[in-house]
């Protein structure tokens, strides 16, 4: 065997774990926008450019309270993009209550996020909750206007 260490283009372990993140980044699912003026679309916009992380998550809910479509856009590092992409994948097909159960620890575990990137998963959870609460506000407004008009 050769005596000197052969230079290897393979990254050390902590970078390996980020490869799951890279997959989401290379092939992001559900990038895009839904029409935010529609009554069945909830939009959550969380984070701040000054912190280097902004996530916009939109959900479309049908009449039965089930989320049929979700789209996201993110300004942030690879882990933030992966967290929000995963979040949209997970909320699709869930009911509103089930979506509220999604925790940032689950997202972090699925992507094997290192401790320094845990705030990305927290922001993704906040984005889901913000989208759901925006949808709920819209529903209450709709109900109120239906009540006042009738």
């Amino acid at each position: 065997p050769p005596l000197r260490p052969t230079p290897s283009p393979f990254p050390p372990l902590h970078v390996y774990l980020l490869l799951k993140v890279v997959d989401h980044y290379e092939n992001p699912r559900n990038v895009g926008s839904l029409d935010k003026n529609k009554k069945d679309v909830g939009t959550g916009l969380v984070g701040a450019p000054a912190c280097g992380d902004v996530m916009k998550l939109q959900i479309q809910v049908d009449g039965n309270g089930k989320i049929v479509d979700a789209k996201f856009k993110t300004f942030g590092c690879g882990s933030a993009i992966a967290s929000s992409s995963l979040a949209t994948e997970w909320v699709k097909g869930k009911s509103i209550d089930e979506a509220l159960q999604i925790k940032n620890t689950d997202i972090a575990k699925e992507l094997s996020l290192p401790p320094v990137k845990l705030h990305c998963s927290m922001l993704a959870e906040d984005a889901i909750k913000a989208a759901l609460s925006d949808y709920r506000l819209k529903q209450e407004d709709k109900k109120k206007s239906a009540n006042t008009s009738s």
């Binding site: 890279v22 980044y25 912190c51 280097g52 902004v54 916009k56 993110t74 300004f75 882990s79």
Partner: protein, 449 residues
Amino acid sequence: MLSSGRTVSSRLLRPASWLPFRLCPERTAVSSMPKELIKKHELEKDELRPLYMDFQATTPMDPRVLDAMLPYHVNYYGNPHSRTHAYGWESETAMETARKQVADLIGADPREIIFTSGATESNNMAIKGVARFYKAKKRHVITTQTEHKCVLDSCRVLEAEGFTISYLPVQKNGLLDLELLEASIGPETSLVSVMTVNNEIGVKQPIKEIGQICRSKGVFLHTDAAQAVGKIPMSVTDWKIDLMSISGHKIYGPKGVGALYVRRRPRVRLEPLQNGGGQERGLRSGTVPTPLAVGLGAACSIAQKEMEYDEQRVSMLANRLVQKIMSEIPDVILNGDPEQRYSGCVNLSFAYVEGESLLMALKDVALSSGSACTSASLEPSYVLRAIGADEDLAHSSIRFGIGRFTTEEEVDYTAEKCIQQVRRLREMSPLWEMVQEGIDLKSIKWTQH
């Protein structure tokens, strides 16, 4: 050497393919290796490595420097401080030749050069050494906010010892305000430390004028010239510099060696950081590593010969890169003064796109960023903050480093890839979407968490 299938891999970065035959044990012994290792060897040979565009972090060693160093590892291996035999004498001659080569590059006397283990050690020696020597009467040191971490940290240690440090702010273009400097120098000031070329934004400080001011006020000027030596013409006599730090691995020399220039007329006194047998004028004890010193000397003499040619080539490539990128995509900002800079260090901020995601997108180019995600803390680069860049732009910056071995194809490929990926990331960015709709981002109340 290269197969025709490869397009943009840089020849100098391939691990084994260009080394002379006798130095590469794998090539001589392939037939005797077990089958599994042969397969791995074949696979690794075809492995493409990323393009290297990070010349401010470190540089590959010039092959001529390696040629100069090799005999001193295995043949002329004596300790240069051994006075009694030929091995010592030949090492000492080599060390002194190297010293002369370094001195010639900066216009100094060879007796004023001290070999150290790198620019970090030189900076530590200069700042702590000078401050502590003159601490009886002078307890004030001046530096800037954009200095290298080793300078700032040495100053912090001095503060804990009871010195007063002034960290001067810089203007928006990265340059120091000379009137502010003049006003800050007081009767208690012993040292002013300003780096010549900044490693993050490439800005070149007006060291000549600063030298004038310091000399007229009787204050020593120390400059961290690690990124500037061998790239821009420098003269310690014309610029009135009293202390200068030089780094080997930034000028295509070996890693682990540097030098400190300490002026003899008028004499600058230092308290040594490393004590021992009194080598290097008593200021830095320890055996001088002859091969590394020879490498540094060779790198300096090559740099002196090729400085003009390199400078023309590097500016041409840097302009090409910047023009290409800025003409194709909007909202790109060049950080730092556009005129007073070293052209090989290009720091661009791409609005609405985050730095680390762009680095991940450009995974076949080796680059570096001033974004928070790539530093250990969540704070963006302090240099970008000091020049007053908006916080979100500080998160969006990338540093492109161009050097002696960069080719035009590498620059073109990088520019194209960058343009493509920035467009793609902007499609994914909510901020870009909002700006396209005409919303002013500064008017929004963002949620903090």
